[in-house]
Subunit: 577 residues, 2 copies
């Protein structure tokens, strides 16, 4: 490709955006934003995206068959799985003007994922045990009504994704495919994308589908929006949302119990404000939240100040199927106080209290007084309230917390999710009545798994990982071109001919070359554009290079003058890395 | 691929659908319908579609740069071009449930085409004459709120398309690119898709954009929904919508003028009914329609019974910018009669009459009496109404019509449009203020062209062209697999081994093979499936084939026993066709 013909040329002193991937991809002319979370892929960006998707495709072809499912489907599809009202990012499609609606006034769903679509198709064709297991995948555009579209390609309203679905006759078979087939394929995929070294598998929530964890492929990077808790001794990464955690002990300076008293603190609700007002450490304050479970029972969740409740953990600990915060009315009925003053003292007997371990081992702690505007201080277990039988873990883990298993402080990493694998088990097969006939002619439920890779997001993550302050440093296998050939002194016919010949020869040899053939552009500007675009190899032909060609890797500082044959050798080495 | 693992297996005695492509693609397991005009591409279908799109991509890469534009865009994009209310198939996107809408209540447009999207992007980057000309294309899913989605992949609500847009500094440059660059690239594309011999270029309407024609690539096939008029001497195909036409002379049996009279025909409006009632040939009836132009002037369009008015022709002939049928009220005011009884006699003087040539050379013709329920018969030029100065062509061409240029009867063909090329000229650059700076620093308007190929439709058209009553006959270059290998007598270990070895060896040699390895399926059923799926080469390994392999082309009757080396030779020949 001739850079003089490339659409568009790189933007020299471009704007800085909210993330490196946005900054470099936009200024490099890879993508163009049309609105928050929606981008056009321009020729350079389209090349990178295609290369990423082809690598994904090659690896997925080893474990499944490629399909291409519709983006718009009847609303009934999503009603059947009862997800039409519960998926909070779902989009719908209708005629855009009166004429269009008069023609056909139907409403369709614009898919953000395809479990709901593929299950009925699988059920239509494969219902004998002989047909199982099987895996179907596609690479496609997805749509999400994303509230916080941001960070370039990391969080979009319209984005590209590979989604694989697998179908099994037993949970065992699903687990086997999940761990022995998909996991290795994912590891190989991310290796080939250049993300192998920095991508880890983290345990994440299994959602409504399973007691087990799901697994996320997380690329460690500073700008990542996920927080991982790494347990060094266990070699396990947990997504913050599921990290088991033990609070570090507080630095207890009190030696003895002080007299308990109620203190007025009108309108003071937040723990930081409260601690300041009461002149006690935040850790001595206590947060009590009341929840209602699916049976209408009220439960109290108690953590020490500075922590939040992890509702998934609370649900498990309290053996509830569903929990939700009680209404202000119920709070008032149970505590005789407005929201914000609930405490652990004098709660109705039928309210079960779940104490987080963070509330342990404290003298003279604070709690809401169950009296509007009042807080009780200097509360003590054993004296003012019964010593809890159990302490549990119902908090959102935070930096400084310990892994309860090893007792060691977690290491914290920021990361961006590039893939996930999810045991759906029977969630969709039950909803859609998908059974198979086994060897004995018996009707049995189908087990399913679902496995995603965000291909456009992976492109953004690669840039987050591989850039410096001058631009992108693409791994060879996903770079728009392997070679960025710069011609200098092109007003000299001989040099121009030499550069053009090199361009032609390299292309004839099958190498992908972007040739900066522009005349009247300064060497400095050409080098800056090469660094910004970030192709792995930079070649320069100029008066200075003489009979040789200047060779430089984008990720190295030194350049060297090499012969054509030496260049070819280097290029082959780059390609096969 | 093992047929035993293929998703799904072909459906043996499948249903018949509304078109051969729907019937064979659905029963062969290539596609699955989720609603009218929306299909999933299953593994076989996805392979074919990918091959088609890769051929299109290879040809387009020679003339443009590939991009990938968004499907959802702000409504403003379509408001800026004033097309948001005028494109009658346009879809919009909003949150699908309350939570989603609460998150973000914006409305987006789901694109059916991308002129409106790409023009602002081009304008953002390329504004110097040095940047021109350039071409950008994409291959993508499009969405249309199609009223009559039907005929399998021929007319869809969601379909795949390649769309190329070109940008130029002059109309000349656009015309040059249009005719000398795009046309040959299209011809080569359709040749490679196997449609070369049956695809013709037809002249079609240039829409609002140009006085010139646009060009459609039409594949001749019985089930096509377009009608082409072929002028043999001129070697020109016209789409019915633009075919210039001269009506064949009527078989005039009257020798002299009869007395004119008004005849009551209460409620009789349609020409067939009227002709029967009046006992005259349909050709002696006359249809008069009143139109209003953009200045509010009323014009009368007159054709003989059996023809319809072509409003585009009428617009040109009457030199109007816009025309529409007048309201019933205006008809009554102008004719003193209800709609249906308008005629040519006694119209107000300021109503200009346009006489189609079909009304010429008739004696004793009928016309509406401009009196409700009455028709005037035995009207004659010269006696009852002035001889028209001019006759013109304002009719929709129909079978039997002559090319006015050659005076020869058109040949009629049915065809399906697989591509079109369209000189947009300055339509979008004017609407979006897209100018460039020329060599002299002057600001000049940009010229544009737009060029489509329906890739999923092309897949349907290929099936329409290449099938017999047993199934599809794919051209090798777009077939899901080159080879359909059938193993028979697979309970015999030796034969099974031989078939498996052949499968492996062919794949090692780089041939694409679908291997029917199913046990317990009859030879007849396997042959039927092979014919239905339609891969170009069928190989059979069985007890009967001995040391050799049975070779048969899908499109030939005879099979022959060949050695492995002979088979390889044949396969190479098939591939390079």
């Amino acid at each position: 490709m001739l850079l003089s013909k490339l659409f568009p040329k790189p933007i020299k002193q471009g704007k800085k955006y909210d993330s490196p991937n946005a900054t470099y991809l936009i200024n490099g002319g890879f993508i163009d934003q049309i609105m928050a979370g929606v981008y056009s892929f321009l020729p350079l960006g389209n090349r990178v995206l295609s290369k990423i998707e082809n690598i994904v495709r090659e690896e997925m072809n080893k474990i499944g068959q490629e399909v291409f499912l519709p983006s718009i489907v009847p609303t009934k599809i999503w009603e059947d799985t009862k997800r039409i009202d519960s998926i909070d990012v779902l989009f719908q499609v209708t005629g855009a003007n009166e004429t269009s609606r008069k023609t056909n006034d139907a409403t369709y769903i614009l898919n953000c994922t395809h479990e709901d679509v593929i299950t009925p198709i699988a059920k239509k064709f494969n219902t004998s045990y002989k047909d199982f297991p099987f895996g179907l995948y596609q690479i496609q555009t997805k749509f999400r009504n994303e509230p916080r579209a941001k960070s370039g390609l990391l969080r979009g309203r319209e984005f590209r994704m590979k989604d694989l679905y697998s179908f099994h006759t037993s949970e065992d078979d699903l687990q086997k495919y999940y761990h022995e087939v998909v996991k290795p394929a994912y590891i190989e995929t991310f290796r080939r994308l250049g993300l192998g070294e920095s991508t880890v598998i983290a345990l994440a929530s299994g959602g409504d589908f399973t007691e087990n964890f799901s697994h996320e492929f997380q690329t460690l990077c500073e700008s990542g929006e996920d927080t991982l808790f790494y347990s060094e001794k266990e070699y396990i990464y947990y997504n913050k949302e599921v990290a088991p955690s033990k609070a570090p002990k507080i630095d207890e300076t009190d030696k003895e119990m002080k007299p308990m008293e109620d203190v007025e603190g009108r309108g003071i609700i937040g723990v930081d404000e409260l601690a300041k007002y009461l002149k006690i450490p935040v850790e001595k304050t206590t947060k009590t939240l009341l929840y209602e479970n699916e049976k209408g029972e009220i439960i109290a969740a108690v953590v020490r100040g500075g922590y939040d409740i992890n509702e998934d953990k609370l649900k498990k600990v309290s053996k509830s199927k569903k929990i939700k915060l009680t209404s202000a009315q119920t709070v008032k009925k149970a505590t005789n106080a407005e929201v914000g003053y609930a405490g652990v003292l004098g709660l109705p007997k039928d309210v079960e209290i779940f104490w987080d371990d963070s509330t342990k081992d404290r003298l003279n702690f604070e709690t809401g007084a169950n009296k509007t505007n009042y807080h009780t201080i200097n509360v003590n277990f054993g004296r003012d309230i019964e010593n809890p039988k159990d302490f549990c873990d119902i908090k959102v883990a935070k930096e400084g917390d310990l892994d309860p298993k090893t007792g060691k402080v977690y290491k914290i990493f920021y990361a961006s999710e590039v893939g996930n694998i999810f045991p759906l088990n029977t969630k969709f097969s039950e909803a859609l009545d998908y059974y198979f006939t086994d060897e004995k002619g018996e009707r049995k439920i189908v087990y399913m798994g679902s496995y995603g890779i965000g291909t456009s997001r992976a492109m953004g993550v690669i840039v987050e990982k591989f850039h410096d302050d001058r631009g992108i440093i693409w791994p060879a296998q996903v770079a728009p071109y392997l070679v960025h050939l710069i011609g200098l002194d092109l007003d000299n016919t001989e040099i121009k001919q030499k550069a053009t010949d090199l361009y032609d020869k390299l292309q004839d040899q099958g190498f992908e070359v972007l040739f900066d053939d522009r005349e009247g552009v300064s060497p400095g500007a050409k080098f800056a554009d090469a660094d910004l675009i970030g192709n792995p190899v930079r070649l320069v032909v100029s008066k200075r290079s003489g009979d040789k060609i200047e060779f430089k890797m984008r990720n190295e500082k030194k350049s060297e003058l090499l012969s054509y044959d030496e260049i070819i050798e280097k290029l082959i080495a780059c390609q096969t890395k």
